[in-house]
């Protein structure tokens, strides 16, 4: 599975658990308008760290907070690539 589809499937899972409807998941979608509130986004970040082994929003003291779903996915793609370069995570795509 690609990073993108891993993120999307976690988003759908958390929405289902919280019985929340989701807006169509496009790159331009504002995260806070997606149907997930900030608590659900926090849970998403925690679950993705377990799945992907990275948390792009805790890596340094200079983080930028994601506004759109596209920003959010790109943060993970970047972190995952960096981590793979430093052998922190398995360089293969997550399974």
């Amino acid at each position: 599975m690609s990073i993108r589809s891993t993120v999307i499937s976690e988003v759908e899972q958390i929405a289902a658990e919280n019985k929340k409807g989701l807006a169509p998941l496009t790159d331009q979608l504002v995260l806070l308008d997606s149907g997930l509130d900030s608590l659900a986004i926090a849970i998403l970040v925690a679950r993705l760290e377990e799945t992907l082994g990275v948390d792009p929003f805790s890596e340094s003291d200079d983080v930028s907070y994601p506004v759109t779903l596209g920003d959010f996915i790109r943060s993970y793609e970047r972190s995952y690539e960096n981590a793979a370069k430093h052998h922190d995570v398995d360089s293969r795509q997550p399974g």
Binding site: E17, N18, K19, V30, L31, L32, S38, L39, I41, A42, I43, V45, A46, R47, E50, D55, F57, S58, S60, D61, D62, V63, S64, Y65, P66, V67
Partner: protein, 459 residues
Amino acid sequence: MTSIRDSLAKASGCSGRSLWGAAGGISLDDLLCGTALGGGAAQLTGRSVLVATRDQFTAALALIELDGSARRLIVCPPDISPEHLPAIIATAGVDAIVSDHDHDDRLAVALRVRCSPQVTPAKSVPRDRCATEWLLLTSGTTGAPKMVAHNFASLTAPIGGSPRQEGDVVWGTFYDIRRYGGLQIFFRALLGRGSFVLCGAGEPIGDFLVRLGSHGATHVSGTPSHWRRALMSPHARAIAPRYVRLSGEIADQGILNALSTFYPQARVGHAFASTEAGVGFEVNDGLEGFPTSLVGAPGDVHIRVHDGSLRLRSARNAVGYLGEEHPALTDDDGFVDTGDMVERRGDRYYFLGRRSGVINVGGLKVYPEEVEAAINRHPAVRMSMVRPRRSPITGALVIADVVLKRESDPGTAGCPLVEYRQEILRICHDRLAAHKVPATIRFVPALEMAAAGKLARHA
């Protein structure tokens, strides 16, 4: 002895100053010579009044009007559970309820007064002025709220020490004024010389940011979690504050840096405060934690670190708890133990979390025991331990380690873990508020026990 109304009346003119809610604003001048309580204000004089409104705007109007006239004001936070009200009413001797909706009429309170979001001119302002006792509610270990007593002097003590307020200030806060952090901003705004913008009940953060911007908010306060959410909004640029204030949760370096970068014109400061101890100190050097030089320094607030926890003694401390079952608020030396654990690294102290194990999820308290009790209802669960996990979005999250009964082990019972996980989460969702539901559940073979047979909790 003084009150909000007396202070406003003495202020050098309230003209141009307003209180703004989601549905509109009211000028402080109109507020001073009017009433939002219909004809009920006079009847409330000298009473113990529960202020239980849906919207904080109506609560603000009632609090301004009743401070100095009611004997006692019990300030209900928005998420108070109705099951706790009878005990609060009995303990605080409540003999009147002020609300903006039809409040539960099964409660045994004789007088009910409706608070409107509009003020009408009042014939006369009640003259029998008294020093009103303010009771704030904080959640306690058993889930029943503790009532913390303050008064005008203790609530406004932190403001006297601040440098003289500028004239063109417009305060705004993501907080609810019915909790200590928000109430501080309420007093700062009213006793200063500016206007105040309040968030509406359920108002989306983007709408509130746009409204703050349209009123020209200069001083904006919230928890680190509020601010992270603001920065995730496409409307974060709707405001251009001169002062950004954080409190109510541990402010980490990430959010301090992000705010300084995003609002380069703003002074970004974080404050330590608790309902019991009041405002302890403000940190304005842009760094997380606080300098060790604050500890033991002379000043309005005496700060100590003892057994790893932060202790404060000042005129800002609450007067005490209401109700006899609670321990004394202060130690023999007059210090309030905040229960916040700190660690010294070099010339700075850093916050570690709560000694009691209470988890702060985006400014809301979670007692691990309450979550464990929900998880342990699942028939396959032997025991569980709930702990905090750091979150870059809400500061902390709740996570759970779960030990299954041997006969329920996937190898024996044939039920896959993923199904147990879903079932446990469903039980939690049914019984607990969303912020108390574990973000992740990990199945472990055993849990570490401390000597007394209790779960070994680590701060």
